[in-house]
């Protein structure tokens, strides 16, 4: 089973140390929700796990049935930006990412894309230029990437931004399916996401110093 261990992790941004001496473990099947006030370092942590930022000290290691590829290539990173091109249709956008991230025959990709689009309620909009979609629809199209290419680790940075209630619900189901399938999910969020038994990782000085803050947080 997959484990992700962070050991004594410190990360600097500019001249400030944003995360210092953080240790935690994420296990397959258990969603890890990273919470904390603005500027606490949630985004920084997610990007460090994805490999964009090199920690100034400490290690992040993946244990379990791992090949030789590094963490970055075994994870889906979904940040604030959607990676959607306005001048490609919704289906073309998704087909590109399916091919780029995973590969497969033309037909297999078409099927996966169709399935993902209808899953996210975008079936009817498949052939529209993505530029015409509303903010929430664009966001869903970005999330549909999660289901067209299989990756064991999902790193989500505030995935519910601009999503309506139904889509949030859908995302929660998708995350749970992924967890049941032995996947690992780490999400930075201000909202509970509607997951069943999340594990919380609290960041930020206030959260650590003031235990009453725990009630405020989801």
């Amino acid at each position: 089973m997959l484990h992700l261990h962070a050991d004594n992790l410190s990360v600097e941004r500019g001249t400030r140390t944003v995360i210092s001496g953080l240790s935690f473990a994420a296990k397959a099947g258990e969603p890890l929700l990273v919470v904390g006030p603005n500027g606490a370092g949630k985004t920084t942590l997610i990007r460090t796990i994805a490999g964009f930022i090199k920690p100034s000290a400490g290690t992040i290691a993946l244990k379990g049935d791992v090949g030789d590829r590094d963490i970055g290539e075994r994870c889906h990173y979904v940040g604030h930006l959607t990676g959607i091109k306005a001048n490609l249709s919704a289906a073309e956008n998704l087909a590109f990412w399916a091919t780029f991230l995973d590969g497969g025959t033309h037909d297999a990709i078409r099927d996966r894309v169709e399935e993902a689009l209808s899953l996210f309620g975008l079936g009817a909009l498949a052939d529209y230029p993505a530029g015409l979609l509303s903010a929430g629809q664009k966001r869903r199209l970005g999330l549909a990437r999660l289901s067209v290419a299989g990756r064991p680790i999902w790193l989500l940075d505030e995935p519910t931004v601009s999503l309506d209630a139904a889509s949030t619900e859908l995302l929660a189901r998708l995350i749970e399916e992924h967890l049941v399938g032995g996947g690992l999910v780490i999400a930075a969020t201000h909202l509970p996401l509607g997951l069943e038994e999340p594990v919380y990782l609290r960041l930020g000085a206030q959260a650590a110093a003031d235990p009453s803050a725990e009630e405020e947080q989801p």
Partner: protein
């Protein structure tokens, strides 16, 4: 279809749909070359003598300025980050994008050159040599330029700075491109040597530039 080809296809599709980019580059090429006879006076002999050099330099500038946005859209909409976590090494993704730029801008500019050369009274007999050298040399322009585009992704003063950084790297391409055309007028065998060097420069930059550009991009994602 492999990831490399998928990215190449996507960038080409986008280039076709956003046709204005190519139009602007061609327009710029035309305007810059058209200013020359105005600046130098309409001495046709003089013009036809300097035509290949001017066509090359204006092509460098047009290609370069159109490169300024090579990574910008992918940076702004987050595609670059997704690419960085894909199985395809970022170096190859950069190469696919530079290749798409060559196909969508470098080739049209090279093919337009003899037509624009008519304004400079270019010797028509040079057309094949001009097109051949430009096709052989423009990959180096796209690939070396991709390093500059990656370095200036977050910089103020985009176009000017990019030109300052990258034009010096283009000098070998320019020298051998022109010397090949010069030989084409006289002896075929000199042409061959210069042409081969031009190809070698292009191949070398196709191999080396993506490494530097990918490193610059990674630094900017952190």
């Amino acid at each position: 279809m492999s990831a490399f080809l998928a990215l190449l296809k996507r960038d080409l599709t986008l280039a076709v749909r956003e046709g204005a980019a190519l139009g602007t580059a061609l327009g710029f090429y035309l305007v810059v070359v058209a200013m020359l006879p105005l600046g130098l006076g309409p001495d046709l002999k003089l013009l036809s003598r300097i035509a290949p050099g001017i066509l090359w330099i204006a092509l460098l500038l047009a290609a370069l300025l159109s490169l300024a946005r090579l990574f910008e859209a992918d940076h702004e909409d987050g595609s670059l980050e997704v690419m960085a976590t894909a199985p395809l090494p970022l170096e190859l993704a950069v190469a696919a994008k530079a290749l798409a730029h060559w196909i969508s801008t470098g080739i049209p500019l090279a093919l337009m050159a003899p037509v624009i050369g008519l304004m400079l009274n270019l010797d028509i007999a040079l057309t094949p040599a001009l097109i051949a050298t430009m096709l052989a040399g423009t990959p180096a322009i796209s690939f070396l330029g991709s390093v500059g585009a990656a370095l200036t992704l977050n910089a103020r003063r985009g176009g000017l700075l990019l030109a300052l950084l990258v034009l010096p790297l283009y000098i070998p391409t320019l020298i051998f491109g022109i010397s090949a055309i010069g030989f084409a007028g006289v002896a075929q065998h000199g042409f061959g040597a210069s042409f081969l060097i031009l190809l070698a420069i292009s191949v070398a930059s196709m191999a080396a530039a993506p490494v530097a550009a990918a490193a610059a991009l990674r630094l900017q994602m952190s």
